[in-house]
């Protein structure tokens, strides 16, 4: 039995949705519109002279090898963060799902990192990885490995991937744990009766049944890695050395805020906006299909 209220006229319903519409307008549509407008202009830093240049900022962008590099870098970074954080989270979730003593505490502790601000997380990693003061960094150097992520691009990338993935493990853990708990025990039991052992049971029963969770997490993690890791990168490497850890979002900041090149920075924001819209559409489509079933 569905409960539904029918409003007469349109004034009252409009009044109800107005706050939401206003919020959307002022905090999304207006700035987004500004970004689209600015992406088609060339301005000096103070905005005193503004020229309309059409799609020039976009064509410049896609003919710039540095921008294409940044796209490639972002894809590698996002994929690595998503795979690493999800793999670790799944492993932890599988173990936490078992009957073990003190699992409440265990689960709670695993969720903690999620509450840490990105900049703080990055500082913790700096204290671990710093070539001189971090104990991991120090240890690596003691082992004869030339560890200096401030000058080695690959190591810098590894550092930001580790820090970003670590931060996302908790979130993935919660979802995987919930996913695991929603798998009917009967199915697992049946598999056990048929003689399927641990790994086989996981591969043929558990993992396929986790597919919806996994898919959802892939989208969320890619979006997280691509858009929410600015703080971590800023605090850890500032996009360097060279441009080794400059992802698309970081580049928007560098070009817009540091270099005051608002036209190009806005064009990059618009490109990112389209990417988010695309990812969200994929997710909605998938989730929509799931609820119809």
């Amino acid at each position: 039995m569905e409960r539904r209220t029918i409003f007469r006229g349109w004034l009252l319903p409009v009044a109800f949705v107005l706050p939401q519409l206003l919020l959307t307008f002022f905090f999304f549509l207006w700035p987004a519109g500004q970004a689209i407008y600015a992406s088609m202009t060339r301005q000096d830093a103070f905005g005193i002279r503004t020229q309309f240049v059409g799609a020039e900022n976009f064509t410049d962008l896609f003919s710039d090898p540095l921008y294409l590099d940044s796209i490639r870098r972002t894809v590698v970074f996002s994929a690595s963060v998503a795979v690493l954080s999800m793999a670790v989270a799944l492993l932890l979730a599988v173990f936490a799902d078992r009957e073990i003593r003190g699992r409440g505490l265990y689960r709670t502790l695993l969720i903690w990192p999620y509450a840490i601000a990105p900049a703080i997380a990055a500082v913790l990693w700096v204290l671990l990885l710093h070539p001189q003061i971090g104990w991991i960094g120090h240890g690596l150097r003691a082992l004869g490995i030339h560890w200096d992520y401030k000058l080695d691009g690959a190591q810098a990338m590894l550092a930001v991937i580790l820090a970003s993935a670590w931060k996302q493990v908790s979130y993935n853990f919660i979802f995987f744990l919930a996913g695991l708990q929603s798998i009917p025990r009967a199915v697992i039991e049946a598999a056990r009766m048929d003689g399927a052992r641990g790994w086989r049971r996981f591969r043929t029963i558990t993992f396929p049944l986790l597919a919806p969770t996994t898919f959802f997490l892939i989208v969320v993690n890619v979006v997280y890695a691509a858009f929410d890791t600015f703080g971590t990168i800023r605090a850890l490497t500032r996009g360097g050395p060279g441009k080794a850890t400059e992802t698309l979002v970081y580049k928007v900041y560098v070009d817009g805020v540091e270099n005051q090149n608002l036209g190009s920075s806005s064009a990059q924001s618009v490109v990112l906006m389209l990417a988010v819209i695309l990812l969200t559409a994929i997710q909605f489509r998938y989730m929509g299909r799931k609820t119809e079933r």
Binding site: A35, A45, F46, G47, I48, R49, G242, N259, Q260
Partner: protein, 445 residues
Amino acid sequence: MKRRTLLAGAAALAAAPLAPAAHAQGGKTKIVFWHAMSGALGEEVKRITDGFNASQGEVEVEQIFKGSYPETLTAAIAAWRAGQAPHLVQMFEVGTGSMLAAGPAVKQVWELSKETGIQFDPKAYLAGVRGYYSLSDGRMASMPFNSSTSLMWYNKDAFAKAGLDPENAPTTWDAVVAAAQAIKAKNAASIPMSSSWPTWCLFEQYAAMHDVPYATEANGFDGLGTKLLINTPPFVKQMQRLIDMSKDGTFKWGGRDGAAGPLFPSGDAAIMFDSSAARASIDRAAKFKWGVALLPTDPAINAHPINSIIGGASLWTMTAPKRTPAEYKGVALLLQYMSRPDNDAVWHQHTGYVPVTLAGYELSKKQGYYEKNPGADLAILQLTRGKPTKNSLGFRLGRMPELRNIQYEEMEKAFQGQQGAQATMDAAVERGNKVLREFEKSVKG
């Protein structure tokens, strides 16, 4: 200017609490001064503004620390777009090109002087300092404030341990390389040599002192069509030297901008190129005997090095809607107060920045400051060495902070072993010229 961007919106939020403070309070005209001086230097700024506030009853100045130089530049731009610009802002020297192109956003010193009737005589200021901030006809655009040049700071204890003469610092690059090798061989310090502000200390100063052009159009003073020339042999030679030193462990890349600075007072780095204004913090923090010397030169490039250039910042008067003549007058009074020989001399002696007025320099001499503090006049001597040429006046390149960032990136790639010296400087020129053309288009449009 009605158009407001996201950035401006953010600045408006940030600046909002300040806006009411800008209006008269208890009969006093309130003016806001944004600066980028942290730590010991920030305290000196506060001492000046406190002194100014106590010296008269008309104007009350509020000083606010806004972060690093680039952050202050960004904040000032965003605030102006939002109509909330501070009355006075401290802007680093490489932002000069951008500020000169800012037209209605700023009130240049000569304009301020004309409007308020408070006179500033350009001749009262040291030529090397004034030139950087003046129009080509000699009118002053911004007020010289904290000017320094780079010097070579070295750890005398580490020098002694390495068997080097602590009282005679190396004067040529070859000697510096040899000293760094001796320090490494004797393990006298964990880092033989490093540099703060690497682009400024190692390339810009290098160009000026050796009288080598850094960019066409007289380093940008003659026009907007300027192109970088830093891939010519003298610069490639310098880059090659740094790459070689980095490879054999005698030079350590300490990071961009001022990031390497703390490595010296902590005792890690034995030789550090840094601003002459590092004196205050080194004096306070260093637990060892230190010395300071002129920047090394390369006799093979120029046997008669000339003046180095300044770094540091100047003060720009900014405009905002509804700003009153009384407020501009307050700004002019503050600038006048800061230029007083006694205040200038105290600022110079406390911070290590050079005095910006001739009278401030003379006063410091008369007080016997340089006899009591050996090396404190090195910056002035280096800034006034020889006869300045068009290669040693400074730089007027648009978006220069971005040019420096490009150079940092390319240098970092080189120190990772990804590219050689020539390729590094070629890439910096190619990418830098693109930025210069962008700037030219945006300003002409």
